[in-house]
């Protein structure tokens, strides 16, 4: 199994847990309960600790995510420039709250506290593509492109 290979490769590290979880997530897309239990057993780290790490970092998802990951910046600069209205618009057309995945599995909507691109704010990211200087009006057309490419 892939997971076992990853664990064996990283076992020698001083603190193997985070690299292992990151690599597993790269392959599987998310960390399932059984994966986390398996990692805890194989690395002999208490389950509570593995679960704590997996819930602490926003880099880890515990739920399967959609094909396209929408990430909206809600940092100070983007907030001042109106990211709240964009969030409301996204919530309305996707029908999900931040942290959730649409029923059809096409989008996962998350927010972040800063993307480090404040000059382009409000900024949104879908997959690896960035959309700067967002307005609620732009949201429709961008989302449409991803639904029917």
């Amino acid at each position: 199994m892939d997971i076992d290979k990853i664990i064996d490769e990283n076992k020698g590290l001083k603190i193997p847990l985070i690299p292992v979880l990151l690599k597993i997530q790269e392959i599987e897309g998310f960390l399932s309960e059984s994966t986390i239990r398996h990692v805890s057993r194989r690395l002999s780290i208490p389950l509570s600790q593995v679960f704590g790490v997996a819930t602490f970092y926003s880099a880890f998802n515990l739920k399967p995510s959609g094909v396209n990951k929408i990430c909206l910046c809600e940092g100070t600069a983007c907030h001042v420039k109106g990211s709240t209205r964009i969030r409301e618009k996204l919530e309305r057309i996707l029908g999900v709250k931040p942290g959730e995945t649409t029923k059809d599995g096409i989008f996962t909507f998350t927010t972040i506290n800063c993307m480090g691109a404040c000059a382009m704010g409000p900024i949104m990211k879908i997959g690896t593509e960035y959309f700067g200087k967002m307005t609620p009006g732009k949201v429709d057309s961008i989302i449409k492109e991803y639904i029917s490419p």
Partner: protein, 229 residues
């Protein structure tokens, strides 16, 4: 090295290395205007308690690793003329520092910390006792009704003394809480109850007069005979 062995057979001709404090293993510092020399690696809290100075603590326990979570043990540390508030339970003693354990600044900060803690868990007797002990009669914050102050005692107790690890901290920031993995009952928890034994919030309430969620103050306000002891 003041102590030399006289009996070669016992020590193998060496000085007593562990039995006595060696000179270079000591640091001198000033705590509340008293000069002391204590062993390197001690914390300010340990040194102060050893001198008989009282510093209130909440997340500290002798049998567990210091955590530095509640900040109740703050003291003023003056180093090269600069004063800083530090948690004494995690601050190691250092040569030449000056410590004030009960200055006005410290007292003010401690009161604020107790007020903040009690506003989150007003039903904890430990916290109510602390407040009464410090003479706090008013809380400037909105009273909530949580059941955990995130002191981490239970998590450390479980892991370090019970060798279990059934519970841990999960999430981050405002959502941080103590929980079992996946919020399901843990397979390695033995139900020993040590986590509850040590928790400062799971203490039975005393019999002071008060509405739930209020500041109690019975110990300082109520006539002792009202307790019905």
């Amino acid at each position: 090295m003041p102590f030399k062995s006289t009996d070669e057979n016992i020590t193998g001709g060496k000085d007593f290395p562990d039995l006595y404090y060696e000179e270079d293993n000591l640091v001198s510092l000033t705590i509340d205007r008293q000069k002391v020399r204590v062993e390197k690696g001690m914390t300010i809290l340990e040194a102060a308690r050893w001198m008989g100075i009282k510093i209130p603590t909440l997340c500290y326990h002798e049998g567990l690793t210091p955590w530095g979570g509640c900040r109740l043990c703050v003291v003023e540390v003056i180093k090269r003329g600069r004063s800083k508030l530090e948690a004494s339970c995690t601050y190691p003693v250092a040569e030449g520092i000056q410590v004030k354990t009960n200055s006005e600044k410290v007292q003010k900060t401690r009161r604020m910390i107790v007020e903040l803690l009690i506003s989150s868990c007003p039903n904890s007797r430990t916290l109510q006792d602390l407040a009464s002990g410090m003479g706090i009669t008013e809380i400037r914050f909105k009273m909530e009704d949580n059941d955990c102050i995130l002191c981490g005692l239970c998590v450390r107790m479980c892991k370090e003394q019970m060798m279990s690890g059934g519970i841990g901290f999960i999430n981050r920031g405002a959502k941080r809480e103590v929980s079992t993995p996946f919020h399901k009952s843990s397979e390695i928890c033995r139900g020993c109850g040590a986590c509850m034994y040590i928790c400062p919030v799971v203490t039975l309430q005393c019999r002071g007069r008060r509405e739930p969620g209020d500041l109690c103050n019975a110990c300082i306000n109520v006539c002792p005979t009202d307790f019905g002891f």
